[in-house]
């Protein structure tokens, strides 16, 4: 297990370096100058030049890449061009919304998908299976921003059960959770549909494995075989999907955060792109890529936890 982990850490480091290069290269070619964006249409060229100097935009590409990367290693992501405060601080603040949102959405996803997937697999071909699977098809097909719009219309504007968006802050945890409820549902619905289908087919696959027959021959009921043996083996594809989904939820909330005007990472980066706050964009994208790579790493370790066959192998 340890050797396996060490080997993965090595390739992890390489991935991260390549990712940082790709990100930096891509983002630096974006047309548009942060200084002239900030100074607007009446600014004089010398003012813009002064601001560029102040922001450190006149340094060479290589120097800027190096200072960005070495800064990140010591936890210093630089200073936002527009907000003029440390990028790490701003991202830290936003993470307090995006991370809980992703976690709640993931929790909801799992909470919905597991029972539904298990039900559909055990009652394969039944009326319940068909209707649940039909519902998941709808869940996958629905554009989540549209679904979010409809939810705002119904629950916030017409019924007024929830506020239409915004985030009251974690000082009031209950209100905060309430504010994250609708966005989390909008995010979770399609993901839960996908996961339920994966769960179902993974379970059906494992249920048709030879060892399930062995278990049945031992005297286990169908249910016991499912809970004790099939479920854990079905976790491998399910874990893969959960890993993908977590990273998707972290980054994919851009649109949902806009619909509910949540001050999360997604909206931060969206706004930063339009304001050409390049350092911010680079850092957020890198953070997200980092998160994906780390989640994959965690999923790999989780495989080894689920599947002893992977433990011995280095």
């Amino acid at each position: 297990m340890l050797r396996y982990a060490i080997k993965r850490v090595g390739s992890l480091a390489i991935s991260l370096i390549v990712a940082s290069l790709v990100i930096f290269a891509c983002i630096e070619v974006i047309p548009g100058d942060p200084a002239s964006f900030m100074l607007g249409i009446n600014a004089q060229p010398d003012t813009v030049a002064a601001l560029r100097e102040e922001l450190g935009l006149n340094a060479s590409l290589g120097a800027r890449y190096l200072s960005w990367v070495t800064g990140m290693l010591s936890g210093d992501f630089g200073t936002s061009y527009t907000y003029r405060s440390p990028v790490a601080e701003i991202i830290g603040d936003r993470l307090w919304i995006s991370l809980p949102l992703a976690l709640i959405a993931l929790g909801l996803t799992v909470l919905i998908a597991f029972p539904v997937g298990i039900l559909a697999a055990t009652k394969r071909g039944s009326w319940a299976d068909m209707s649940v699977m039909g519902a998941t098809q709808l869940g996958i097909a629905i554009p989540n921003f549209w679904f979010a719009m409809l939810m705002v219309l119904l629950f916030a504007i017409n019924l007024r059960w929830f506020s239409a968006g915004g985030f009251p802050g974690w000082e009031n945890p209950l209100a905060a959770l309430k504010a994250l409820t609708l966005p989390a549902i909008a995010l979770a619905l399609p993901q839960a549909s996908i996961l339920a289908r994966v769960m179902r087919s993974a379970l059906l696959d494992t249920l048709s494995e030879d060892y399930i027959r062995t278990c049945r021959a031992k005297g286990l009921t169908q249910r016991q075989a499912l809970w004790r043996h099939a479920l854990r083996n079905a976790m491998i594809p399910v874990l893969t999907i959960i890993g993908l989904q977590f990273s998707f939820l972290l980054a994919g909330a851009i649109i949902i955060e806009n619909v509910f005007y949540l001050p999360g990472l997604g909206r931060l980066v969206f706004q930063a792109i339009s304001q050409r706050d390049l350092i911010m964009v680079e850092s957020v994208v890198f953070l997200l890529v980092f998160a994906v790579i780390m989640v994959n790493f965690a999923v790999d370790l989780a495989y080894a936890w689920v599947d002893p066959r992977l433990r011995g192998r280095a």
Partner: protein
């Protein structure tokens, strides 16, 4: 109830009004937190701010400002003439990053005569110097607090900056030791909601008490019909124009520009894009300004005439050009309508929707556009037509001379006359197609009073705002 939550579409990038163009900074801070020597009143007139009185020398070149006594910054330090000198010198310095540096270009010297007296010497007489001093970019800041101003603004206003939840809201609280009339509110929160749908939801769910410059005019009828809300429809300084690239063929031909102007149905654009909010204009001038003259007749909607003009210009079959649109809905929606109207006279436009940064890069700085729509929200900005390198590249020596004379003219009547002359010149030269004066539509809770209906500058002055019960 003594607190208020105000919705704003854009969040300030940082909190220093003297080093960025973003209107959102002024909206939150102007006259609430920061004050200048002069200030704009709700009707757009310029009144005294921190200056108790002022005096102009005979030759019009020296302004002596006498400051109010006992004014304190929010950090407890006194406001004195040194702060004024610091602020003005900083704004006009070599390495200044003031977005409106031109406002200060004419200043030759600033002297602190005594703690409450400042003498400003100009290189030449300037008719609108006091007006310039009322801008948000000319507010008085203190050297003690300048380092942190972008995240912790310290001013002299009736409200103190309290907290900024980046991406979400800014909170101001009442300044108990304000030198003037104390604010009626104890606390004001500005909440940033960029999506129009979200703005609608927030207003309807009463998450916010007012939404300044409400971004979706299509919803206003609903708010008007709802007794919970009032819709304030006021003036802005935003002349919305269909800018034409005067140096690019075929717009270098006046006939073509005239044709475009006649091809456009302003009322359809106001109805279609702004749901009826907006005043048609025929030149680059705000209708609420006393010097305004109605020149819409020069470019009335007449597609037949437009076609004839095109034929005369040798383009009977029309032509193709680009139409670059920045993000606001007046541009995006207006652009679609204009494209349809131009198509009707044979002009095909290729629309590209741009972000502001791209628009600045391509259209504004790169001058790579045929047509573009933009609203010029700075007050009294007809002077841009005297800048041949300005993005629409209008180069007319007569107008340039006129504006130069206007700058040094101090006599009110003559100034008005000169302004009207300028309006006529650009209107008759069809420099751009003038669409409408942007309306300021603010949705407020019916019980909330004192919110400015007009926007002589980008400000939400809360000093007089209160709840009716």
């Amino acid at each position: 109830k003594t607190d208020v939550t105000i919705g704003l579409q854009l969040e300030p990038p940082h909190l220093d009004p003297t080093s960025a163009a973003a209107g959102a900074i002024d909206q939150v801070l102007y006259s609430n937190v920061f004050e200048g020597l002069m200030r704009f009143a709700s009707d757009g007139s310029v009144i005294n701010g921190l200056a108790e009185e002022w005096d102009i020398s005979e030759d019009g070149k020296t302004y002596t400002f006498k400051l109010h006594g006992g004014v304190k910054f929010h950090d407890g330090t006194d406001l004195d003439s040194a702060d004024v000198k610091f602020s003005l010198d900083r704004a006009r310095a070599e390495d200044s990053v003031n977005a409106q540096k031109a406002l200060f270009a004419n200043i030759a010297r600033v002297e602190a005569v005594d703690p409450l007296t400042v003498k400003v010497t100009l290189t030449a007489p300037q008719g609108n110097f006091l007006f310039n001093m009322a801008w948000g970019d000319a507010v008085i800041v203190a050297p003690e607090s300048i380092d942190d101003i972008k995240i912790k603004p310290i001013g002299t206003g009736a409200f103190k900056f309290d907290d900024w939840k980046q991406g979400d809201s800014i909170t101001l609280v009442k300044n108990a030791s304000y030198w003037g009339d104390a604010a009626k509110l104890d606390k004001a929160t500005f909440k940033f909601i960029s999506e129009p749908t979200a703005a609608f939801g927030a207003m309807m769910a009463e998450d916010v008490d007012a939404f300044y410059s409400y971004p979706a005019p299509e919803n206003l009828a609903q708010f008007e019909a709802d007794p919970r809300f009032t819709v304030l429809a006021g003036n802005t300084e935003g002349e919305t124009i269909l800018a034409m690239n005067n140096k690019q063929a075929p717009f270098d031909n006046k006939l073509v520009r005239e044709a475009v102007s006649h091809a456009i149905d302003r009322q359809a654009i106001i109805d279609g894009a702004m749901f009826g909010y907006g005043t048609p204009i025929g030149s680059h001038f705000a209708p609420h300004n006393p010097a305004y003259i109605d020149l819409t007749g020069n470019s009335d909607y007449d597609p037949e005439k437009a076609k004839a003009l095109l034929a005369e210009a040798g383009m009977a079959d029309g032509f193709k050009t680009t139409l670059k649109l920045p993000p606001p809905s007046y541009a995006r929606r207006g652009g679609e309508i204009i494209a349809a109207q131009l198509r009707a006279v044979g002009i095909e436009t290729e629309i590209s929707n741009l972000e502001w940064a791209q628009w600045l890069e391509q259209a504004f700085r790169g001058k790579d556009f045929g047509l573009t729509i933009v609203s010029h929200t700075e007050p009294m900005d007809i002077g841009i037509y005297a800048r041949p390198d300005y993005y629409f590249q209008y180069d007319n020596a007569d107008l340039q001379k006129l504006m130069a004379d206007f700058d040094v003219e101090a006599d009110g009547a003559k100034r008005t006359e000169m302004l009207q002359q300028a309006q006529t010149i650009i209107s008759e030269d069809y420099v751009n197609a003038y669409l409408f004066q942007l309306a300021l539509t603010t949705v407020v809770n019916a019980k909330l009073q004192g919110i400015w209906a007009d926007a002589p500058t980008q400000a939400i002055d809360l000093t007089a705002v209160s709840w009716s019960e």
